[in-house]
Amino acid sequence: MTALAHIGSTGAGAQTPGGPAPEPTKKGGITAYLLLLPGVLWLLVFFVAPMAQLAAVSLQSQFPGYPGYYYRDVNFGSYVTAMTEYLPQFGRSLLFAGAATLLAFVLAYPLAYAMAFKAGKWRGLMMICVIAPFFTSFILRTIAWRQILADEGPIVGALKWLHVMPSSGRITETGFAVVAGLTYNFLPFMVLPIYASLERADPKIIEAGGDLYANGLTTFRRVTLPMSMPGVLAGTLLTFIPAAGDYVNAELLGSDSTKMVGNVIESQFFKVLGGFPVAAALSFTLMAVILALVFVYVRRYGTEELL
């Protein structure tokens, strides 16, 4: 996805020649509102109104004896069902997304670091390599993973041959496979912001840090990592949020015991008659939890200019 290319270049381009971005100079007036009107209207009709409708649906009650028919109500019963019956899936979503974010960070950081400081003339090529796989539909790539990790596939075969894995062991249909799939799918969203913030950093400062602390690890911890924090922050959000709401990886790589909240929402909408209110309550809770986490996280570590 060029999406990703862009996240990288946005960061890189954000350095203004004359210091921080200038504050808006023009007075408001009619032009501002005319420019705003169509976009804001669009977001009101296709984002705010649907959210309000979703909230209303989550509070609806069912006509007794008529499954699939609801009436307007203020009934929190769906939230109670959502939080009691589907708590494991909810927890799993946050856990899997957290694990995938952590793994993606561990994999992405060396890659971003190599691109920013070691790649030299290969930098452009490496950038293309990070983005390129994402033009092949993510559904296709996830299905490819399913086959690569399958019981009769090469990886399981090799692990069994090495006796690292018992002969009954498998990778697909485990939580590990789901986390691996999530990690894979959102890795570039971690790489590019970290790369952008490292690329903006002055390598001389890191050298100076090296002279000061001598120890590579200390230099990294005290100098390099703090300088790349805006990128790490953006990357973790761009990985965690879509991972927590994903259901494709759990569907294709997991089993019934690895279902995430996304799977529940999807099946309540499409496979359960009268499942709308519970699905809406789950969606709303998921969004509230994620927004709360994002705000706490950004407050704690972040800057405003982020996204």
Binding site: L36, P133, I241
Partner: protein, 276 residues
């Protein structure tokens, strides 16, 4: 530096690159799988290799050979174009207003743009489904092509705003000041100085929109009714076995996109080099 330190430094320098290359290979593994299985001469093409083992070119010669595959690809491309055009225009206008103008409610405007990006796709899909089914159908809008377009414009919009905003904020204000000093009126300052400078941001916003729209599955799956896009086609056909033609198309998109990126970079660097 002592020899030991030098050695350690040498290794640590290489180790980062080695890990980086390994991670890149990991990223490419499923693409290679897709490429290989586009030559598979077997009914259930993605599950196992043909027992007779001979690769075939027939899927490349007839990529539309499976019912519905090219129709769904066509739908994806049409949705992508319309959504990109609309989202780019609306988003660029929003970005100009948010960066260049001071007005009441600017903070709220920024928030309204940010929150859709921080909302998981499944929640966007669910909310759109409820309003399409329970509200919009009363005015005659059925789930299908146009509901996909409306939804795609919405989720692309925020990404366009963020992209164009970043470009606008990084502009050197002195360039526009210079134009004004040379007695350009605001209109020609805008069209001859500001707009050309912002254009690369608008172009990458459009590319971003198209790729987001083209690859979207979760939202589309909620609000598409019987209409099929390419990702939806692949997902639905997964249960029966994915036709090898899907691999052909998937890999071709990869090649086309890489070529576009390379051409774009070459043009970009040519344009930049004489001026700097």
């Amino acid at each position: 530096m002592t020899t030991g330190q030098k050695l350690r430094f040498w290794i640590s320098e290489r180790i980062v690159m080695i890990i980086a290359v390994a991670v890149l290979l990991y990223l490419f593994l499923p693409v290679a799988y897709t490429f290989a299985f586009s030559f598979n001469n077997y009914r259930k093409s993605n599950i196992a290799w043909n027992p007779e083992g001979s690769p075939t070119l027939k899927h490349w010669q007839d990529p539309c050979g499976v019912e519905g595959i090219c129709e769904s690809l066509g739908t994806s491309i049409r949705v992508g174009f319309i959504a990109t055009l609309a989202a780019t225009i609306l988003g660029t206008m929003l970005a100009f207003a948010l960066v260049r103008h001071k007005f009441k409610g600017r903070g709220a405007g920024n928030m309204l743009v940010f929150i859709p990006m921080a909302t998981p796709e499944i929640v966007l899909g669910a909310s759109l489904l409820t309003i399409f089914v329970q509200g919009f159908t009363r005015v005659g809008l059925k789930l299908g092509f146009w509901t996909i377009v409306l939804a795609h414009i919405m989720f692309c919009l925020s990404f366009v705003v963020v992209t164009v905003k970043a470009r606008l904020q990084s502009l050197d204000p002195r360039l526009e000041e210079a134009a004004e000093d040379l007695y350009a009126d605001p209109r020609s300052t805008f069209w001859r100085v500001t707009f050309p400078l912002v254009l690369p941001g608008i172009v990458s916003a459009a590319l971003l929109s198209f790729s987001l729209s083209f690859d979207d599955f979760i939202i589309t799956n909620f609000i598409s009714g019987n209409e099929s896009t390419f990702p939806k086609f692949v997902y639905v056909s997964y249960l029966r076995g994915i036709p090898a033609q899907a691999n052909v198309i998937g890999f071709s998109m990869f090649v086309i996109a890489v070529l576009l990126v390379v051409v774009g970079q070459v043009i970009g660097s040519r344009r930049r080099s004489p001026s700097s």
